[in-house]
Amino acid sequence: MGEINGHAILFLFFGILTCLFSLAVVFSSNVVRMAFYLILALAATSGLHFLAGADFVGAMQLVLYVGGTLVLLVFGVMLTAQNPFISLRTAGGDWVVAAMVGGILLVILIPVAFQVGLPPTEASQLGGRADREAVTSTDPVSVPTATRIGLGLLGVPGDDVSGYLLPFEIISIHLLVVLVGAAYLARAKRRVTVRDTPGTADV
């Protein structure tokens, strides 16, 4: 037990990084910095994914999320980053409410995490699927998961994966619709008559 666990060190590294940058996002008031911190936080999350053996998901996280979605966001930031909006101040009362709500949520979540994630006790192992878990949990082998995920997505159920063909198709259509919609929404339009007091327009 006394030996230092390399896995744990790496986890701690990425975990702390993730937490720190998440919080940095919260507490930074400058939107550009927030975007930067967010990228770092998500990148660190992908590290956690790798550590958890989810190589494909980690890669996707890096590629899709960090490389795609966030770049999109950064574009958004750049498009709207006029001076008054770079750092919009939030009223103190909002902060207090948010901190209270967030704090309570955290207080609820953390105990649940400990409750759910505890290593098995003798009693709990006597559940229905005890034999199957015993195999997987005792001998973890690092196998690339991409193939099996791909097969799963194409509707081939494996020994530890169900078939996801229908959701996959729905998601594809969804993506298409979204992209079309986004393009439609974001297209340059005739600007509505600019009011003196932006934001009060209620036509």
Binding site: D94, V97, A98, V101, G102, I104, L105, I108
Partner: protein, 801 residues
Amino acid sequence: MESILSNLLLIAWLLPLASFCVILFFGPRLGAAGRGAAYVATGAIGGGFVLSLISLLTWIGTHGVSGGHHPDAAEASHVSLSNHVPQDVFHFAAESKDSHSHDDTHHGHGHGHSSGPKDAYFGDWYTLVDFGRLKITIGYYVDALTVLMFTMVTLIASCIHFYAMGYMHEELHDVTDHEVTLSNGEHLHRKGRYYRFFQYLSLFCFSMLGIVIAGNIAMTFVFWELVGICSYFLIGFYIERKSASTAANKAFIVNRVGDFGMIIGLMALWGSLGTFSFGGEKNAAGEIIKPGIFAQARAAEDDYALKTPAGMLKRAEEMGAEDPEHIGHLLLIVAGLGIFCGCVGKSAQFPLHVWLPDAMEGPTPVSALVHSATMVAAGVFLVGRFYPMFTPEVLLTIAIIGCITLFMAATIAITATDIKRVLAYSTLSQLGYMMFALGVGGWVAGMLHLITHAFFKSLLFMCSGSVIHAVHTNEMTEMGGLRRKMPITAYTMLVGCLAIMGAGVPTIVGLSGYYSKDAILAQALHFGKNNATWDVMFYVAAAGAAVTAFYMFRLWFLTFIGEPRDPHRYDHAHESPRVMWMPLVVLAFFAIFVAMPADIENFTDPTASPMVQLLEQARPDGTGLDFSGQLAAITMPAEHGSHAEEIHLAAGMIAFGTAMFGLLLASCLYWWRILNPEEVRSMFAPIYRFLRNKWWFDELYETIFIRPTIFCGRCVAQFDQRGIDWMINGLASCTRTFTSGFDRWIDKIFVDGFVNWVAARTFAIGIWLRKPQTGRLRQYVVFIVIGTMAMYIVATFGLTN
């Protein structure tokens, strides 16, 4: 003997009342502009003085002037409560150390010390109300103290009446009051009120003498209130001045606060003892049918030791007390504290002292008579009269209050510049000394100081009045050098200052204040030696002596020495007329000699003075002995112990030293001008401000008492109109609506009403539901999170159970 004394004093007492009635009805018609009123009033009080002098001489004739007088058993009318055992307190000075019995469980008293009853005549003149065995009467209680006080009050009052004839002469014709400015910018012109002044003075004398002669505590209370109202009228004599009427109100109301406590004391006595009489209630045959309160607390068969009266024990049992002895004792303490509370108000002691300085708004003769010599001393007199009922715990309270007062008032007097206010604070301080003396067991010391103080303080006030009369200002900063213009006033006032300072050559001779102050300090030292916890009070009192000397000579130097600070006023100053300075000389004479031993051989004996001897005759039964407290561990040392050489000499030396120190300091600052007062002031600026603002008592009381009371009154009035009346009116209008259209209303409520109600409710719910729909994204987020958490909590705790 008894009938002679009581009748003499009765006449002396009623004379001022007659004068009051005469002036009330015929005042303006007595001579030109009511000048005759002064003669009527002065004649009445002068007659009173003659009668009281006769009764004093009668008293001395039968009882002599030795403190250990053995009453003549053959005296037919003499009333005694038990067999007379010779009492000679002075022989026990040496024995006193043995008799300090520290017996905490009982009221200890001296071994082998048997004391006989003092001489007192008492009886009733008139029954006010009478219910079965309960009786409230107007009666008399005459002992040496009564006679002495009677003589003192009438003498000083006579002097002041003479003085006032001169001082108030402006009121004989129309007066222009320069202190009152009307709305048109002019000063007020009004008719003179010469006769009314003497009318009030007469009523005051009557009331004051009523307190002195009172045969029961209820009668004391009656006249207590009456002197209060006289004081109210006299302070507010210049009714046009807002400050005067406010000061009068303040005086009366603050006194009422004290009276509130006094009523509680009266109730505690009345509810358990069923009598108010000091001496006892007699039937027609002159037999005592009910023992008085003193006899109930200090029974002759107990050797006059203080015991909880049987009535109080019985009352405690009726109240269902588990420990009647304890509760009964508490009742006795409540009674004592209550009565003392009244004295605190009347004598302007520490928490209730605020009214006396403001009372200086009245004319100066009033300040001299009412607010220094007599009325304010009535509180001290009552403490002395009621002394047998005070437990050591109460006495300790009295001592503490007195000690605080004497020090606080003395410090304030240092910074005051109004000549009358300096004297007012000095009065407070001296009253504190008296209370202090009584509280530490010095009955004779306190009473002696009461009498000496009356003389020199009325002298000082009248001198200040003479100065004010000459320069028309109260501010000492506008006086100076007046010694040359008004020598008689200056030197009589010097006598007063020396007397109040307690000047004298230690162990040889001194002015009246020397003897009384020495006696107080000696007893304080004696008390401190017996109760180490409280010996600090002696040092405070000694320090107070220094401060006293300082502020008195500050006053004298500022007024009479040096260069005139206001040449205009100085030029117009003049010596007062003879009718004014003659009383000064008379009082100065008494201020010097009143406490002096008659026997030149015996000058070193502090008790050799006839005054002290007479007071010893009046000493309440049983108070010449040590006794100790039940709740607090205190020993009240017998007063004669303080006459022991080492105590008395030490105290005398300390008093002399401190007074000299104060005198020297005052001389340095205000006579020789070695030190600059301005520099000293700026050096101690915070302290100066603190003292100059009178320790901020007025502001404090304004904040914590007056404003909340008025606020409370407003709240109640508002509640009355907004609360109760609103309800009533609402009820009325509801009823009216209800009755006026009952059927329509039924129709409405059951047919239209219900439907409309549903509709309106629905609408209202919609409106209400609109409120959370703010359209704010961020709030929605919060709502979502809260909802989630609520669901989680419900799922966890609500469903599983």
